[in-house]
Symmetry: D2
Subunit: 214 residues, 4 copies
């Protein structure tokens, strides 16, 4: 089994991106599966292109994208991605600030994750680390990437499964940010490895029938 | 123009539901439109049935459902409803506690609101009241009702527009709940009336192309 | 009975100060007591001077100072003031930014409120409004004023009772501040009037023996 | 130099106390100073007795007490202890639930820390860990212990310096508590060792003149 795990480059003036750092710390082989790690740009459109190229090159069974969500208290696998790009303020790393745009003009309103978010959450908690399922990946580059990966699977790579995991700041990022939660870098990496183990073991959540082929 | 506005009955042991109280305080005519107010049960399935019956009886142009979200700081029009019923704990007022069930087995993964959430949010703020667009209505009865109303529009009532607005606790509900935000009942009612005015005036958000017919 | 109630002028770039607005809306007579309302400057030292002058002029029985605490969810009578001026950043309205300075070089480490904070809190809640006792008034001008008033009572005006009440933002202040709690202006005024009623009725908390003469 | 560091036993039904675990993980010698670690009971009165006995036995130069504060985001040295025991609900580990009682009937209203809270905070941050000075230790056993240690110094052991540090939950404590911040156990221990190094090096905050002899 081959799993492509992606992390975004730093954005918003941050020197680091906790997601990228945690991804790069993951083992190269987990539960017998080969892990391919990829840094992708925090840029609308381009991030999906980079993942598409990597899918063609590496032919993974699963794409698990990882992003930083600075207000989250634990690791949060995302259940759903919506067909909406909308930055209320700020811009991505290429200066894009879309308002009310679709990710894919021909895509459905949303895709549910095809990796098992509840089982992944339980696996993280079993490691003694905080986790919960999230039902919104926002409307910025993270949701865009998750939707994009699931849309690639739906339209070009029918065997591919895909999903997204948001992670908190690492501790060093909150030293000058009183009131922000964080996790230790090694712990975030452990949590991501637990997600991968869950996928490799073939664990599945109960299926949602509506909205998506299974 | 005719607008059906619904509020849920109290749940979770609460003596009141801020949404229902605020809805019942709305004017019967707003900006020339007739307002029909309906109490609906906080019960999966049944709430949609009640709204369907009211649509047949009253033939409204718009259905705006309103629900209580006790941790919210302002009034939050919902952008999207997902095809997922999932109560992690507790039950609805009839004892149902669905896990990972679709709202509609034959429905799409999500529907976007067909009432203008950004314009409604700006109208509320123009009244001096806090508001923001929300991108998750959760996975409980509120999301279920929003998805259900949009699914009715998509499958049975093609002229109908529908959406959902979450409101905070009213002030009296937080007296014994230190650390919970609230709004004054009259202010929530004013905010809901501002939403209706926005709809009646024909204001629209930019359209999302993907995922839904417009 | 005569009660001097003070509110600070706006600071920090805010167009209004919720404390001042709420104080100015109070009745001129409450439960038979005369209410004297005074705007005071958000300036270390000067605010105490202004209150001292008003005490000499009006000879009140009680001084109740009121200040804005923008993160608070309800009205919070303060139990204790400490002998410490310390602004970690920013400055008062005259540009002062003291670090680790005493309010009064010859004063004790702290004074407890001599108005009944628990009874006041219960009276506010009995009006259906959120309230709780606070055990820190911070280290900025609010704590400075509370300490200053109690030090005046201890050193110059032995019959005088004094205390401090923090209030949240009023609703209009949070329209552009998602995630901040607020209260309606009239409700803050009602809460302050409930505090005064409690004082006039002669209600008392249990006394703390240590640290202070009673 | 000899430093007595105390941690409370678990309370409130928790299987562990993050403060105690972190204290027990500290080195036995830090920057040349001998560290004496002591578990104390989460019981009003008794905890002070235990510390008094340990002072007599070990004759430390400094007592640094450590307690758990489950809502805190970082390590927070406490600036001030007040002469007030007040549990709004619940009880200590011996069933005591004092209301509005003084810690010491003959004591002052408050004591400021005699270990340097700002310097300690900076030392923790220099290790890449979150910290801030706190201006309230509450009104439960933690504040009681801090006040008690400073009152012992003021009345019986004039050479002794004392203070208190609150620490967050350790990560394992928040697995089943979504929305609570935490720190890694090793990081809390590192933070406490940084506090001790600061004390040993003789660093001092600016002195507060009022309220206390220096």
């Amino acid at each position: 089994m081959k799993i492509l795990v992606t992390g975004f480059d730093p954005f918003g003036g941050e020197p680091v991106n906790s997601a990228l750092e945690a991804v790069m710390g993951m083992a190269d082989e987990i539960a017998g599966a080969q892990i391919i790690k990829l840094e992708i740009p925090t840029v609308f459109g381009l991030c999906i292109e980079k993942v598409r190229e990597a899918i063609i090159t590496h032919q993974p069974d699963v794409v698990m994208c990882v992003g930083q969500a600075g207000r989250r208290f634990g690791v949060t696998p995302e259940k759903v991605a919506i067909n909406l790009d909308d930055l209320p303020y700020g811009a991505d790393n290429a200066g894009n600030c879309p308002k009310d745009q679709p990710v894919a003009a021909d895509g459905p309103a949303a895709y549910f994750s095809t990796i098992p978010v509840k089982a992944m959450t339980e696996a993280i908690k079993a490691k003694g680390l905080p986790a919960s399922v999230s039902y919104t990946a926002g409307t910025a580059v993270c949701n865009h990437m998750m939707y994009g990966a699931l849309h690639l699977a739906a339209t070009e790579f029918p065997e591919l499964r895909a999903g997204f995991v948001h992670v908190p700041f690492v501790t060093k990022q909150v030293v000058a940010r009183p009131g922000f939660p964080s996790m230790k870098l090694e712990d975030i990496t452990t949590a991501l490895e637990a997600c991968v183990e869950t996928i490799v073991k073939g664990e599945e959540d109960e299926k949602i029938v509506g909205g998506q082929t299974h």
